[in-house]
Each structure stands twice: as C-alpha cells, then as structure tokens.
Point group: C2
Chain length 125, copies 2
DNA sequence: AAAGTATTTAGGTAATTAGCTAATTTACAT
DNA sequence: ATGTAAATTAGCTAATTACCTAAATACTTT
C-alpha cells in the first residue's frame, strides 16, 4: 500500500511535463534506440536507457535531466542503477501497479456507494 | 481519452497535500457532516459539500481553499456548482475513472510486452 | 433596503521549483 | 598515466506556487 506521502511524491513527479515525457518513454520503450550504445557484457533490461541518451531527446541541459531523473527515482517510479560509468534508467512497474490499484479501488468503492445510495432511495419511494 | 495536458493538470492538482486531502474527502464523503447545513429545497448529491465547510477542516484561509478548489475544478476532478449563495463541491468520478483506465492500460501493456520479450528469449535458447 | 452569509478577486510576500553554467567525481580507454 | 566520457554537485537566477489580508461581489434574510 502506498502512503499518502508516497502518492504525493508520485503526483509531484508526474505533474511536470518534462518528467512526464521521460516517464512515458521509459515505460513504453521510447528510448530503446539507445540499445546499441550499451556496453558489451553489461546485462540490463532491454528497455533500459541511460541519462545522456534521455537528455538528447530534450532541449535541456544534462544536469537538468539528471535532476528530473533523481526526482522520478525518489518517487520510486523508475530505478537508476550504475553499471560502469553509465547510469541505467529502468521503469519501476510495481509502484505504477500499486497506484493503478489505488485508483481502481477508489472508482470501485465510489460506484458501490453510489449504488447503495440509489437502491436505498428507490426503496423509500 | 485524457490528453497529456489534462493528465498534467490532474497530477499537479493532486501533488499538493492540501488539495490531495480535499480530493480524498470529497470522493469518500469525508465532508458529509455538512449535509445538515444545506439549504432546504436545494437538490444536491448527498456527498456534496460547500467551500466554507471544507475550509473549516484546514488551518488555511478561505481564499486559499477557494483557490485550491478552483485548481481541482480546472483539473476536472471535482465540479463546482453555485446554488443560491453557496457553491457545492462534488466529485467528478468520470475523470478519475479515465485516469484509472490509463494506468490499468499502461500496466497491462507493460506486462504484455515483458511476456513477449521473455517468450522470445526462451525461443532463441 | 439593510444586514448577514458565502465566495471570489486583488494585491502582496515567502518558499519552492526549474532551469542554467562551471566544477567535480567516477570509470573507461588509450 | 593521461585523456575522454558519463553523471552529479554546487551555486546561481527567474518563474511559479502557496499562502496571507483586505476589498468586492452575489445572494439571502430580515
């Protein structure tokens, strides 16, 4: 279960356009063009990419992208793993799965409560 | 389908603790204690509440809460409806339902792609 | 019509965020 | 060992955000 503070960090992280785009591409493999640049013998998720490759997709400086990645990592929606002199960026699907379940539960409970309310109303008439 | 800009507005709205708490309580009926304060003859969702009632739950000024509500409204996750001299705040479940579906799709696609990848890998060996 | 209640607008300040360049660190390759 | 590449840290600025109080608006009640 995600705590409120964890959810707040995720929403803050995803509420910025640059971070949202990074998130989107990291999760959907938008950066896999970087596969060929990977170092021989390094085992990584085939969807993984590295910081400089991501930065190449934006008109922002590398330190700016690095800071955005740090924030996405602190929100636990990506992982950063140093291998050699590169930092590999990978999606952390488990956090997104948990968030997805939070929303599904919220919607389901809402619908259930609404149904309860309306069936009560019908019974009265 | 929610556009990226719509999603960004939702995440920005929910990335602030005060707005998150308002959102939570508006959706789960946390403010229904205000029901008895409603004006006679006014038809509202039984979960609805009004701006002042919400503000009473926080140590922030009424204008601050009003501004937060405006932002939640612009993110389309609540609705504000003026009836008499009160503004009734109601959850907008449809937007949350759409967001929930976005996350569910993201997770499902991710899992499907991962499965495809691993089955391919197995085939090669 | 005057007073009261609910809410928003206006205008201000302090804190936070998003960006930059320059400098530093770490690892790799020559 | 030296140079190159990848990334982070430090230190700065501009823009945005979150709050406030006071004033204005809109509606209701007396």
């Amino acid at each position: 279960m995600l705590t409120m503070q964890e959810k707040l960090k995720i929403f803050k992280a995803l509420g910025n356009e640059t971070r949202f785009l990074i998130f989107k591409n990291v999760f959907t493999g938008g950066y896999t063009c970087s596969l060929d640049k990977k170092q021989a013998g390094v085992e990584v998720n085939p969807i993984a990419t590295c910081v400089t490759t991501i930065a190449e997709h934006f008109n922002f400086s590398l330190p700016t992208i690095s800071a955005h990645l740090k924030e996405l990592k602190e929100a636990q929606i990506i992982t950063l793993e140093k291998k050699g002199n590169k930092v590999y960026v990978e999606p952390n699907i488990e956090t997104i799965r948990q968030l997805s379940e939070c929303f599904a539960t919220l919607v389901a409970n809402f619908d259930e409560n609404r149904e309860l309310f309306f069936s009560k109303t019908v019974a009265v008439h």
